[in-house]
Symmetry: C2
Subunit: 245 residues, 2 copies
DNA sequence: GACGCGCCTTGACGCAGATCAAATGACAGG
DNA sequence: CCTGTCATTTGATCTGCGTCAAGGCGCGTC
């Protein structure tokens, strides 16, 4: 599935690598091919610190990264979870606004910012595609705000599971067979930073959902969902969870 | 200041009305002029309900609107605060994702969605401008997530005041003279929905900040800030509050 | 002036989740 | 096999904020 290598060709990533793929389909591929390059990161490695100069933009090819804000006293809030195909960086801004960290081994496809901006100015399709992606991210951020501001710890956990299941599903081409399962790509502490909780509360609520039969665990990270509707109900959303199935 | 009328010309709003103004400076103004129209709303009136068909996009000319999510049991979370010049709507999506409500009397400049999308496809500058604005909103949403997930009630109130002061300042052309003052355009309940608190907690924390001399009140809505650094400190941010001064 | 109606403030009390602390399990290296 | 490290779980206690309730203030209307 996520078997891209550092030398993956642009044309290999019709889904994962959208910022590039939008161009792959046109006759100007060669421009992007000339300016793109790949970077690998190890799990735990910081891609860029908040406030640093941001010399590139790019997108995740394989692995997972997070965006986090940190306060001086150490409180942390995750503000973005980047899965393969997600875009990183901000054309038109010189410095990073948050820490970007690889939480698994990760490969990014990067473009030096200036050439990318030049290309964007002459290739309307790129700005239109980026706008679409940014609007999606904004919607996700706003759903996340509802979670952070108004949901209980139990609802937050249930919501997180449905959100990650949904995003993993959208990366997979095939439909899931058998019982729905989710791999949580985060530690309890990272989940806590995602949800605005402490890691102890995350652990307790996962245990509680397990005890109540809403989910079952195999190991610490792998979850199966016997009854999706039950989980969606626990998530407290008024919507259907974005049509997960 | 905010004396635009329903018949305001596009060329009157170089700051407030950015989605239009991007075009005003070009030779294709007439296209936008042909498809734009104005809508007025009274304070409290709903512009559109979540889930409704969204036939238009537009931007706020005068007044203030909010975006809110509501759960079935009535819990509400504000996810956007729209001041003059802010864009509303989402090219490429058919239905609204959240409730849009006028909290003061408000005038919007609208475009039917289809013609606007057509224009966007042929006028690269519009998508580029919208991308820039959307990225700004995304940054604001992420700062808001930090507030919702990790700040104390007192810090939330202090942060809200600095955020609103900053945004009001950016709408004003002239520098503030004398002591910095802010008009809160929201009721205590709306502030609570903004901050993920209850209205009682909002009231208590505002009283506490007043008692401690961080702010002073004239009436319920008008705040003066004797010492901005003190307020920024109370807000708990590691940044400088976006260079308010 | 008296009334009603929003909006706001203040007080008393309870609880969800934070905090502090300790135990358990999973591994990797010696 | 032992040991150290790190992630996780679980328990005991504390506390910030929610909840419930009462009352104040400004303002328009009769």
């Amino acid at each position: 599935m996520q078997d891209h290598t550092v030398h993956v060709q642009c044309s290999d990533c019709p889904i994962r690598h959208r910022a590039v793929c939008a161009r792959c389909e046109s006759d100007e591929l060669s421009h992007l091919e000339q300016i793109k390059y790949y970077r690998s990161f190890q799990a735990g490695q910081t891609v860029i610190w908040s406030g640093d100069r941001m010399e590139f933009v790019g997108s995740v090819v394989t692995g997972i990264a997070t965006l986090t804000h940190t306060l001086e006293d150490g409180r942390r809030q995750m503000v973005g979870l980047l899965l393969p195909s997600d875009f990183v960086g901000r054309p038109g801004r010189a410095t990073a606004a948050y820490d970007v960290t690889a939480t698994t081994d990760m490969v990014m496809c990067c473009f030096r910012k200036k050439p990318f901006e030049d290309l964007m100015a002459t290739t309307p399709h790129i700005a239109q595609r980026l706008l679409e992606m940014t609007l999606d991210e904004l919607d996700a951020a706003r759903e996340w705000m509802l979670l952070l501001g108004r949901k209980t710890a139990r609802e937050k956990i249930a919501s997180m599971i449905t959100i990650i299941a949904r995003r993993e599903a959208s990366l997979r081409s095939r439909k899931p067979k058998g019982m729905l399962t989710v791999d949580l790509p985060l530690t309890r502490e990272e989940m806590a930073d995602y949800l605005g909780l402490t890691l102890e509360t995350v652990s307790r609520q996962i245990s509680a959902l397990k005890k109540d039969g809403v989910i079952s665990l195999e190991g610490n990270r792998h979850i199966s969902i016997p009854d999706l509707d039950r989980l969606l109900e626990e998530a407290g959303d008024d919507s259907d969870g974005g049509m997960l199935v």
